[in-house]
Amino acid sequence: MTYASTVSMKVNGERRDLEVDNRTSLLDALREHLHLTGTKKGCDHGQCGACTVLVNGVRINSCLTLAVMHDGDEVTTIEGLGQPDNLHPMQAAFVKHDGFQCGYCTPGQICSSVAVLEEIKANLPSHVTVSLTERTRISEAEIRERMSGNICRCGAYSNIVEAIVEAAGTRA
């Protein structure tokens, strides 16, 4: 057995074959191997959310998972959500509401918030969900709690929440 492995992933809709040292995190594979530098490294320890990407539609911290564990998976990064001339509605809402200052946490915030709306739609409970047996509804409190895994050093939180509320198409 060797210290390296080959992995094949679908990244932003395109099949990518990689040869990686087993130690390579999914985050480093995206940034250093595939040069998709939209996804950011903040803490590298699961504490900030800057590295959030969608794997098979589910948001995870790409810093705390190994690239070799994603053979066959579909990964969506901020580059795959939308492009400058074709923004994802969440990206457009962040721009409109100034949901950032320096922008470093933003790709993670956007990937996370896209998944948060899906999670509420799928009726997954959160820490602030009032009843476990009734349908979960979109509210500012739900958005804040569900976004707590994404830290913003610039403190753009209130604008981030406004952007997500708008993208949700709901006045909460």
Binding site: M1, T2, Y3, S5, D21, N22, R23, S25, D44, H45, G46, G49, T52, V58, R59, I60, N61, L64, T65, L66, V68, M69, S112, A115, V116, E119, A122, N123, L124, P125, S126, H127, T129, L132, T133, R144, E145, R146, S148, G149, N150
Partner: protein
């Protein structure tokens, strides 16, 4: 991070054998605790066995009316499961009080039970720590101990087990199902699963080398109000200073388990008996013989008050 070889387990038995035959091999599930510690070289496995592909991600009803949770069920999926929400609400509540959405999407039932302490000195590789390096000493005694344990502590270690989920499982009388490398299976009650630190704080559970967790089962539901209250330094995405998980029946009887106070989720039958008398009596029984430090003695009052709030919520 140290270099390691990597393999995808083909069966539970093969995975257990593989770990048993190499003292430096580890299972990897969600990876959210193991990889964190490997980056810091606190964990230094030379071989990883990925156990995600073994089909252990199902939640099934048991013939006795309980529930069997596969070891690899993600924390998110467990918290959202219909039966868990309806009959074991305490477990859903404890799960969603932990970590972040992203982490819960990866974290597994078995990995959560086996996550290691958040003692700051365990993470600080420049300081002695008996858990990280047996025999080197405990920096927390006489150091920063605000977060650490008050019950079942020893001269060697005062760390706590940081899991929220485990507190709920303790109150629910969960049973951990395992397979040993020789193929024998056993069931370990959650109360016996985690060990107190004693003079071997690096040995945290009763699991043997290579022993693999296949599932956690819950007995039939007991009804009652299910409440989990977690007190922490910020409102979300922080470990508990203290947490209280309780199931309280309409007559005031019930059970209570507490997190953030010991090397394992803390529950005593004597305290359950006192529960109908109120928070003071129950927390007095639960924390009898506590050995707090100057910095964490606030936890004694905090448990009583948090339990008081839980009891009022149950009545309300």
């Amino acid at each position: 991070m140290r270099a390691f070889t990597f393999e995808r387990a083909s069966s539970v038995e093969a995975a257990a054998k593989s770990v048993a035959s190499n003292p430096d091999a580890r299972f990897i599930a969600g990876g959210t605790n193991l990889l964190d510690l490997m980056k810091l070289e606190i964990e230094t496995p030379t071989h990883l066995i990925d156990v995600n592909g073994l089909g252990l991600d199902k939640i099934e009803a048991t013939t006795d009316g309980g529930l069997r949770i596969g070891a690899l069920v993600r924390n998110t999926d467990l918290a959202a499961h219909e039966t868990v929400r309806r009959d074991y609400g305490l477990l859903s509540r404890a799960l969603v009080a932990g970590a972040s959405g992203q982490l819960r999407n990866k974290a597994t039932t078995s990995g959560n039970l086996l996550q290691r302490t958040r003692c700051p000195y365990f993470y600080d590789t420049n300081q002695p720590c008996n858990k990280r390096q047996p025999g080197s000493g405990c920096s927390a005694l006489g150091g920063i101990s605000r977060q650490l344990g008050v019950m079942g502590v020893s001269e060697a270690c005062i760390a706590t087990h940081p899991s929220d989920m485990a507190v709920a499982m303790r109150a629910l009388d969960a049973v951990v199902e395992t397979v040993k490398p020789d193929g024998t299976i056993r069931s370990v009650k959650i109360e016996d699963f985690h060990r107190l630190p004693g003079d071997t704080p690096h040995i945290e559970t009763v699991l043997e080398r290579g022993e693999f967790i296949t599932a956690v089962s819950l007995p039939p539901p007991v009804g009652g109000r299910h409440i989990y209250r977690k007190v922490r330094d910020r409102a979300s995405y922080a470990f508990a200073l203290v947490s209280v998980g309780a199931i309280i029946q309409s007559d005031g009887k019930g059970r209570v388990a507490v997190g953030g106070v010991a090397h394992k989720p803390w529950r005593l039958e004597a305290a359950d008996v006192e529960l109908p008398k109120g928070a003071k009596a129950a927390s007095g029984a639960l924390l009898a013989g506590s050995r707090p430090t100057e910095q964490n003695k606030f936890k004694i009052d905090l448990v009583e008050r948090t339990l008081g709030a839980v009891i009022s919520e149950a009545r309300g």
